[in-house]
């Protein structure tokens, strides 16, 4: 009797909090958890007439089929190599920008410039694709119409020449993200104790020595943490960059197909749910392993930044 009473009491204590949490939880269950159960689709031969649960199990057949196509290799290679290039070159650009930005003492200019560097990050990939189109399209684009003729170079149709796209996409990535990432490094630099620099100056360290022996070593934890976070995202690519900026051009697939664009095309354009879900599950599982691995490393280096 007493037990029941205390249960009721604690229930009346918990209930209001539970009710507050409810809408958000319901959304997470629908938006995140039900699709997680949906990974079983990758192990079935999906037949809408039978429904997902009653469709026939096919074991790993979908994966066997996926990995027997050249697509599997191309999209994996592209996803990993682009991410690697983005992480390394993106980090260098962001740090250089942050160090130089930190030199600007004038608040007004610092804010103004920072706004300009952040602007590309605020616009949609659709608008980015318009801008890239303005530069590259064969009929009116700035580069084929104005710059190449001025250099007396031969005509290039960018949207059908896959060889140029690793560079184009890298430039677009840097343009869109460098300002954003540099904000993180800038806040790290701003947190460095000024007296360390003063001490170094007294010892005769020049500006470049100060950067090399103070700024960069003290940025190392931030660099490593951001690097490991990016490793956790290695299997994912920005769908907008690889799908919309390339204008979904089939001629470019060899250098622009990533796992995300493959999943979209298999699902929506080729109506091949089995391949799309196999590729999606491949991405989710390898991605999950990478996140766990990266977190393990972060925990070893700097437990405070570990996710769990």
């Amino acid at each position: 009797m007493k037990r029941k009473h205390s249960f009721l009491k604690s229930f009346s204590h918990e209930l209001p909090l539970l009710l507050l949490a409810l809408p958000g939880l319901v959304y997470l269950i629908i938006n995140n958890y039900i699709p997680m159960l949906g990974i079983i689709i990758a192990f079935k031969k999906l037949d809408y007439a039978k429904g997902i649960l009653k469709s026939d199990w096919v074991g790993l057949k979908n994966f066997e089929f996926l990995f027997s196509t050249p697509d599997a290799w191309i999209m994996t290679r592209n996803t990993l190599l682009y991410n690697l290039a983005f992480i390394i070159i993106g980090t260098i650009f962001a740090i250089v920008l942050a160090i130089m930005m930190n030199e600007i003492a004038d608040r007004f200019f610092a804010k103004y410039f920072q706004g300009m560097y952040l602007l590309p990050n605020l616009i949609s990939w659709v608008v980015v694709s318009y801008i890239v189109f303005a530069f590259l399209n064969a009929d009116t684009g700035l580069i084929p119409k104005v710059i190449l003729p001025a250099l007396r170079a031969k005509d290039i149709n960018f949207y059908t020449s896959p060889g140029y796209w690793p560079f184009i996409l890298l430039i677009v990535f840097l343009w869109k993200n460098t300002g954003y990432t540099s904000v993180i490094y800038l806040s790290s630099i701003a947190g460095i104790d000024r007296t360390i620099y003063e001490a170094a100056r007294i010892d005769g360290a020049g500006k470049l020595d100060q950067i090399r022996y103070i700024t960069l070593p003290l940025l190392k934890p931030t660099i490593i943490i951001l690097f490991l976070f990016s490793i956790g995202r290695m299997m994912y690519s920005d769908f907008g960059l690889f799908y919309q900026v390339t204008l979904n051009s089939g001629a470019l697939f060899s250098t622009t197909q990533t796992i995300d664009t493959y999943v979209y095309r298999a699902l929506m354009q080729f109506n091949n749910v089995n391949m799309a879900s196999a590729a999606g599950v491949y991405q989710s599982i390898v991605g999950f392993i990478l996140v766990l691995g990266a977190n393990l490393l972060i925990k070893k280096i700097n437990p405070e930044n570990a996710l769990f």
Partner: protein, 299 residues
């Protein structure tokens, strides 16, 4: 206090300002290009291409859009509706979930926090989501398809707000309110929310931007042109410029007849697509930068 700089430091400072300024101009120049192209005349665009220095200027693109404004206005309306409803809902349910998770005496706290957190590590991917939203919820070609999938709430923001509640709002305040007989809803709405305006402004800004810039939900779920948002309209027009032309090939503005200025209107539309962000961003830059920093440090 002005400290004395060595020659080498002064040189580095000057070089930095020069470099940062020069690069800012380069980063900004594509925006200038599309703005110039949007007011270049058709003949200039055909003969010279998209150039920073057009032969002649013309406002035809904007006049044409004005005359054919219905399609664009409608898309603007859809985007605005989706952004406002989505962001507002998100700003209600995110702190509502974060508050119980921040309460140490809430028994389900551990379980719920794990449920929120696990969504950051693992996801089922696009295919099951697509099948669920279209087959179970029949979202295809409804306005809800632009609001519900993906963006309404994310685990990351919930944890961000939870941390803010735990660190920035003293426990005593909650206890005092409880002694005064305030119920949980009152504590949440009268104490927690008003004291967390900075973090809520930050997540609201990011959510709003995500909705305004989203085109992927449209790509997956919307084929009915009357439900196009501004981003989806832009995609459609990039692929097929004639989409803007509803019926007649030319449009009458006052007593002028303007035919579709194909090349400049694309860029004019891009300008129209960015405009709201350009207007709002300077006011919110502070929150945006704060958001980047807190997002990165406790990821």
């Amino acid at each position: 206090m002005e400290r004395l700089l060595s020659k080498d430091e002064k040189r580095f400072k000057k070089a930095s300002i020069l470099f940062v300024g020069l690069f800012a101009v380069i980063v900004f120049s594509p925006f200038v290009l599309i703005a110039i192209c949007s007011i270049s005349s058709t003949e200039s665009l055909i003969s010279k291409g998209y150039s920073f220095f057009p032969k002649s200027l013309s406002l035809d693109a904007y006049l044409y859009m004005w005359a054919q404004g219905k399609v664009i206005l409608r898309a603007y309306g859809v985007s605005l509706f989706v952004t406002i409803v989505g962001t507002a809902t998100s700003l209600v349910i995110t702190p509502m979930l974060a508050y119980p998770l921040s309460r140490k005496d809430f028994r389900l706290r551990g379980l719920f926090t794990f449920l929120v957190f696990f969504t950051l590590l693992f996801n089922g991917g696009v295919v099951p989501s697509y099948i669920m939203w279209t087959r179970v919820f029949s979202l295809k070609n409804t306005i809800w398809a632009l609001i519900l999938p993906t963006y309404l709430m994310n685990g990351f923001n919930v944890l961000l707000v939870k941390n803010y509640f735990e660190r920035s709002i003293p426990r005593d305040l909650i206890e005092a309110a409880q002694i005064d007989g305030a119920n949980e809803w009152t504590i949440f709405s009268k104490i927690m929310v008003p004291l967390s305006v900075p973090v809520l402004a930050t997540i609201g800004l990011f959510t709003g931007l995500a909705y305004w810039n989203d085109w992927i939900n449209g790509l997956y779920y919307i084929s009915d042109p009357s439900l196009y948002g501004i981003q989806q309209l832009l995609i459609r027009i990039l692929n097929n410029i004639a989409f803007l032309r509803s019926g007649a090939a030319a449009s009458v503005v006052g007593n002028m007849v303007i035919s579709l200025p194909g090349e400049s209107i694309r860029m004019a539309l891009a300008v129209i697509g960015i405009l709201p962000i350009l207007i709002v961003f300077p006011l919110l830059q502070k929150y945006f930068i704060k958001g980047i920093v807190i997002g990165a440090i406790k990821g």
